[in-house]
């Protein structure tokens, strides 16, 4: 059995059927644009604030892009029973779920570069450490996608996927140091920030864009990898428990 054929075709099918559809492409464009504009107006501090806002906008774009798409598409396929067709194919569950999530990872990563491209016209990004930005964006997309998978596996209806996603996403905007430092949060809330994966992604991006990071980058990367693996493994276990009855 050539798994790569199945893997590639699941990825291509999902890209064609979901991610490259005009409404989703426009969501991918408009959402980061809206966040950039909103943050820019709110800060009121002129073009020099663009760079300081960029890591937060990138993280939010990835987080919302991936979790929205994956949790909804997987729940939709499960509800319509087309997901059963994948479970009936002789593909190991790990390969199958990696294939299903790859589209969302690519979509999330592509979303991340929209605010970066826009920022390039407004601010000087010559000092950015691209060798750090690119893997950080990729890892953030992976972690957020697996968070979307975790959500998809935990619900049974499409509307539940959306509401349950927001339960995680909106607190993350405020708790993960995206737009203001974690140090400014009340002391009792801070531990919560450190159990949320975007905290580490935002920290890497702050460092990579020269704004300054709070933790050593290797630890940030390591923790993002741990979160990714943890969310993926829990999701696989939930699929086996909840979907293979």
């Amino acid at each position: 059995m050539k798994w790569w054929i199945a893997f590639w075709n699941i990825l291509v099918k999902d890209m064609r059927a979901y991610y490259l559809k005009p409404p989703n492409v426009s969501w991918g464009l408009i959402f980061p644009l809206a966040w950039t504009g909103m943050s820019f107006i709110k800060s009121g501090s002129g073009l020099e604030s663009v760079l300081s806002m960029l890591p937060g906008v990138v993280v939010v774009s990835i987080l919302f892009g991936t979790t929205s798409m994956l949790s909804v598409t997987v729940t939709f396929e499960k509800k319509g029973r087309s997901f059963d067709r994948l479970l009936l194919a002789p593909i190991p569950l790990v390969i199958l779920m990696l294939a299903k999530t790859s589209g969302a990872i690519l979509f999330g990563a592509a979303n991340a570069f929209i605010p970066i491209i826009l920022a390039a016209f407004l601010a000087d990004l010559s000092q950015a450490a691209w060798g750090t930005v690119i893997p950080a964006v990729f890892l953030l997309a992976v972690t957020s996608t697996f968070l979307g998978l975790f959500i998809a596996v935990s619900v049974s209806e499409v509307f539940e996927a959306q509401t349950f996603s927001n339960f995680f996403r909106f607190p993350m905007i405020f708790l993960c140091g995206l737009f203001f430092p974690i140090e400014r949060l009340p002391l009792f809330i801070r531990p919560l920030s450190y159990v949320l994966p975007p905290t580490y992604g935002a920290d890497i991006l702050h460092g990579a864009f020269g704004i300054g990071n709070a933790m050593p980058m290797p630890i940030d990367f390591a923790l993002l990898i741990v979160f990714s693996m943890g969310l993926f493994l829990v999701s696989l276990r939930n699929i086996q428990r909840r979907w293979i009855l």
């Binding site: 059995m1 699941i10 319509g80 029973r81 009936l88 194919a89 009855l245």
Partner: protein, 329 residues
């Protein structure tokens, strides 16, 4: 071991419970290579749960499953390359065309591009869907959707095929066409496990049939063996109007060698070990003030056996067909 090789599907002591409901109880059966095996029972009898356990969509609580000699009780993936599944619900991708749906399903089994495109075209031709190949699946009629779902199930030429109520909810012509396709697949060598609640369909297509009721397999045999005990019976149906309430008792008293059963709507079923003489019966009924509008001989069928063995009235099965918007076998 020899049995495991000869059997395409070997099931021993299979059981499954969902909360308070015992969906399948101690199911054991063999499906031989090249056989078309029917799994017959009313809705909720445990047919789909059994198929789900055999194909890997449900985990058995107890029992053992071997597919093509491979023990896949704990690892259903081990035999999935050997099986094709046509579920009871249409589950292809509405946003893809018929052709793309088939190509995608073929890719799930590792088929290369040229190979899967050729196979998809071949099946679209066979199933009479070539003209609709480039139309989105969402725009297909119910019968077309069902046919494409079957085509998707056999895209990788599986030697063992699971069909879960393949003709439910489609029109007469499509149902007939699908039955012909199923028979053709079986003639070509595929082992087929067919669940249905259409008794006539099972009788027409299957070599052997298992009756399942409330999760228990109550009888497994060949169609001739199942029918044989009642084939010697002589059955007649009388259409009667203006009948009195006590008519059945009077008939039973007057003709003790005959068995009478009211079928509703003025129909009386008469059974006997010897040929039924209509004359005395009609005269008796007319003497009782009833009018006999029609008398016809009925060929005993699998339906009679099903009713006899399971205790489920054929009317219940018919109602289920109607509830599902069922086709007509």
């Amino acid at each position: 071991m020899k049995d495991a090789v000869a059997s395409s599907i070997a099931v021993d002591g299979l059981a499954k419970r969902f909360g308070e409901v015992q969906a399948v109880v101690d199911a054991s059966f063999r499906v031989l290579q090249g056989e078309l095996f029917g799994f017959l029972g009313p809705n909720g009898a445990g047919k789909t749960t059994t198929i789900n356990m055999l194909t890997g969509l449900a985990r058995p609580d107890a029992g053992r499953i071997r597919i093509a000699g491979i023990d896949c009780t704990g690892n259903p993936k081990a035999a999935q390359h050997m099986t094709g599944v046509v579920p009871d619900e249409i589950n292809l991708y509405p946003e893809l065309t018929g052709f793309d749906n088939l190509c995608f399903c073929a890719a799930l089994y590792g088929m290369k591009k040229k190979q899967r495109e050729a196979r998809a075209r071949e099946l679209l031709e066979t199933f009479g869907l070539a003209d609709a190949a480039d139309r989105k699946f969402a725009g297909y009629s119910r019968g077309m959707k069902r046919k494409l779902t079957i085509a998707a199930g056999i895209i990788h030429n599986p030697p063992i095929l699971f069909l879960d109520e393949p003709t439910t909810g489609i029109d007469v012509a499509s149902a007939r066409q699908i039955r012909q396709l199923i028979a053709g697949l079986n003639r070509a060598g595929a082992t087929i496990f067919l669940t249905t609640h259409y008794i006539e369909e099972a009788e027409r297509l299957c070599g052997r049939i298992a009756f399942i009721v409330k999760g228990r397999i109550v009888r497994i045999d060949t169609v001739p063996n199942l029918i044989q005990p009642i084939q010697e019976k002589h059955v007649m149906e009388l259409a009667v109007s203006n009948s009195q309430p006590a008519l059945h008792d009077k008939l039973a008293q007057a003709f003790p060698h005959l068995t009478f059963q009211g079928l509703g709507g003025g129909l009386i079923r008469v059974e006997a070990g010897n040929p039924v003489h209509v004359g005395p019966l009609v005269r008796f009924l007319e003497d009782q003030g009833a009018e006999v509008n029609e008398a016809r001989r009925v060929q005993p069928s699998l339906e009679d056996i099903f009713v006899q063995i399971t205790g489920i009235e054929a009317g219940v099965m018919r109602k289920e067909k109607e509830k599902k918007g069922g086709g007509n076998p």
